[in-house]
């Protein structure tokens, strides 16, 4: 029951939830939540493959790096969102269309 | 997941027969069942003991503060008021459980539970004695810090969920305080990890000897400073004494848990006191040699274990006493002072310690100051 497939299924579900969160939610922070979910899904895959395939420690290291960088990214993203809120008074994603073509 | 209480107990006669019995009857998952049972019993024992210690903590605090202020303190309930905490507990239970309007119900219910889970989660790794630590995770320290940060979140959620400005402010202050003080704590713990060469509490404690000169606190000047940084940080972590801004009575009534009544408040209060004990335990384990008994009397025998337990509890309670004394001596810090203290003083010092410890390790090959001064290189086998 605890085979590679189950882990992959879990990570896929997480991935899909992350994508839906990004697409469906209109609040920027919700989008960031979705992003975190996606990153976690990928980290899970790495660790799962290390366990079931080649047991090299690199999988762990890569997921560690994902966690570290995701944290840094979350911090910067939220700082930007804060500044965006200070300037625009809103965190609604559809108001951030200044880079429109 | 290596040497847990289960593996320790399995070494003794009666448990061994139980193990064989279970393996014959349940085949492959026999040992896991055995482990489960042992864990179940162990957890129940540790939780009850710790709760009583938490309760006694309240009693002790009131007694010591009274003593310091030349007054009697509780002496009605039980001899010398020792059972006062039970009285409080019953009071809490009897109190009406009020849920204010427009409260975020989900978070309102979850916050106290989160606080308790956070605290009880840490009990799994506290090294009471070489045998009786529940599980000596080899990532013990990191696990402990992770789980204890749940408390911070719980405080914030409590403040936020109770839908009132004061508790909200208390929650924000509490959360930010806990998060910012987590950094110096982690750094000073890292210094010790650097010295002992392992993340698990067992390794760290075994790296220290029974005698004070073998403890990490006196190992080198950097760990000495590291001990005090850790102690100050843990004070802030548990919202104690000079850092008890979140439930600063004078300003925010009682901070984040003003709206909580009855058992929810009990959870928060209990969580707080147990966390103080846990934090003192950790400090003792890291710096004061944990359950190490001089003349290495400790060992696998029951008596050895009891002696180790005694050593651990004596060191932790000493620190506990010291924490309580601080509460009634130092005035409360302002929020900006709190923050500057953390970011502009503690963190740089902690970083300096970490680097200093690293350089010391490299320079003197990990030998402690004592060994360097009094014993020529060959005589002492060096801590490391």
């Amino acid at each position: 029951m605890m085979g590679l497939a189950s882990y992959l299924i879990i990570s896929t579900i997480l991935f899909i939830c992350g994508v839906i969160a990004i697409l469906a939610r209109k609040n920027i922070i919700a989008i960031l939540l979705g992003l975190e979910l996606i990153l976690n899904a990928s980290a899970l895959n790495f660790v799962a493959y290390t366990r079931f395939l080649n047991n090299s420690i690199d999988g762990h290291i890569f997921s560690l790096f994902i966690i570290v960088i995701a944290a840094a990214e979350a911090a910067v993203a939220l700082a930007i969102v804060l500044r965006f809120y200070q300037i625009r008074e809103t965190v609604h994603i559809d108001d951030a269309t200044q880079l429109q073509g | 997941m290596t040497d847990t209480i289960v593996s320790y107990l399995a070494k003794f006669g009666p448990f061994k027969d139980l193990l064989e019995f279970l393996t014959e009857s349940y085949g492959a998952n026999g040992p896991t069942l055995f482990a489960f049972l042992i864990f179940l019993v162990g957890v129940i024992i540790i939780v009850t003991i710790l709760s009583t210690i938490g309760g006694l903590g309240t009693y002790a605090e009131r007694k010591i503060s009274a003593d310091m202020q030349l007054r009697m303190g509780p002496n009605r309930v039980g001899p010398y008021g020792i059972l006062q905490f039970l009285a409080d507990g019953v009071k809490m239970l009897m109190k009406e459980d009020i849920v204010p309007k427009d409260v975020d119900r989900l978070l309102f219910f979850i916050a106290p539970m989160l606080a308790l889970t956070g605290v009880f989660g840490t009990l799994a790794v506290i090294p009471f004695s070489s045998g009786f630590t529940l599980t000596d995770l080899n990532v013990g320290v990191v696990y402990l810090i992770g789980i204890s940060s749940l408390v911070g979140l719980a405080i914030f959620l409590g403040g936020y969920a109770s839908n009132s400005k004061w508790s909200m402010l208390g929650g924000m202050r509490g959360a930010s305080q806990i998060i910012s003080y987590e950094i110096p704590i982690v750094l000073s713990i890292l210094a010790v990890v650097l010295l002992s060469g392992g993340l698990s509490f067992g390794v760290i404690t075994r790296a220290q000897g029974g005698w004070p000169h073998e403890w990490f606190i006196f190992h080198n000047p950097f760990t000495f400073i590291g001990f005090f940084v850790l102690f100050i940080g843990s004070l802030a972590e548990t919202n104690r004494a000079p850092f008890d801004l979140p439930e600063a009575e004078s300003e925010l009534v009682s901070g984040y848990h003003t709206e909580f009544t009855g058992m929810r408040f009990a959870f928060f209060a209990l969580a707080e006191y147990i966390e103080v004990f846990v934090v003192c335990g950790v400090t003792a384990a890291l710096f004061l040699g944990g359950y190490q008994v001089p003349f290495n009397l400790g060992g696998d025998t029951i008596w050895g274990q009891l002696l180790q337990l005694g050593a651990f509890f004596s060191k932790t309670l000493a620190l506990y006493y010291f924490v309580i004394v601080i509460r009634w001596t130092l005035p409360r810090l302002r929020v900006d002072q709190l923050m500057t203290m953390c970011w502009k003083y503690l963190i740089p010092i902690a970083l300096f310690n970490l680097v200093g410890a690293g350089v010391w390790m490299w320079l003197f090959k990990g030998k402690s100051l004592f060994v360097l001064l009094f014993k020529s290189g060959t005589a002492a086998a060096g801590i490391h």
Binding site: M1, M2, G3, S6, I10, C17, A21, L23, A24, R25, K26, N27, I29, A30, L33, L37, N40, A43, R51, I57, H60, I61, L64, F65, I67, V68, I69, A72, A74, A75, V76, L78, I80, L82, R83, Q86, R88, T90, V91, H92, D94 | N29, T32, L33, A35, L106, L107, L137, N138, V139, V142, Y143, G146, S149, G152, L153, F156, L157, Y160, L199
Partner: protein, 179 residues
């Protein structure tokens, strides 16, 4: 048996948490469910024998990111940020026009195909070999971090420094607030 229970609990926790993150209206609840799914993830890591990664997951995500999110929510107008934007238009999630739906449908189909293709290949030729027993991974991770992946390690430290300073500067409340 013990592993199985741990796996079952953390899997349920993760999946339920993830799904609840999407469906809850309240942003704060979303953060808490996210916290739940992160805890579940830590449990999953434990079942996979990655104890150090689980600990770091706990430390970083549970200890840091979630609180960060909660703070962010508080600082940008609370969990019930108004649905409508400056012009008073209530923007519902599903607003959009033909173009977005077509592309959304197209991506759904493509993703589905991708998933199917992946899983077929996994089920077809992945045979669960004898799994190695659990080993303490901290030493191995530490050693390989310093030897093989030292470059990534150093660069990530620089990156973290950058992020630290950057976030602090960006989020600093500016004197001349433009309202």
């Amino acid at each position: 048996m013990f592993d199985l229970t741990l796996f079952f609990i953390s899997a349920v926790l993760t999946v339920i948490g993830a799904i609840m993150v999407i469906t809850t209206k309240d942003l704060m609840h979303a953060c808490i469910y996210l916290l739940a799914s992160f805890l579940g993830m830590a449990g999953l890591y434990l079942t996979l024998g990655a104890d150090f990664v689980a600990a770091i997951q706990l430390l970083v995500y549970v200890g840091g990111v979630v609180i960060l999110m909660v703070f962010a929510v508080m600082l940008t107008g609370g969990p019930h940020a108004q649905k409508q934007n400056k012009f008073g238009m209530i923007k519902t999630a599903l607003m959009g026009n033909i173009r977005t739906y077509t592309i959304g449908g197209l991506t759904a189909v493509v993703v589905l195909l991708m998933m199917v293709k992946l899983y077929i290949s996994i089920f077809k030729n992945y045979t669960a070999g004898e799994l190695p027993n659990y080993l303490p991974t901290v030493e191995r991770i530490g050693k390989s971090l310093i030897t093989d992946h030292v470059l990534a390690f150093e660069i990530s430290s620089v990156l973290l420094l950058g992020a630290l300073i950057g976030a602090a500067i960006i989020a600093r409340p500016r004197k001349n607030r433009i309202n």
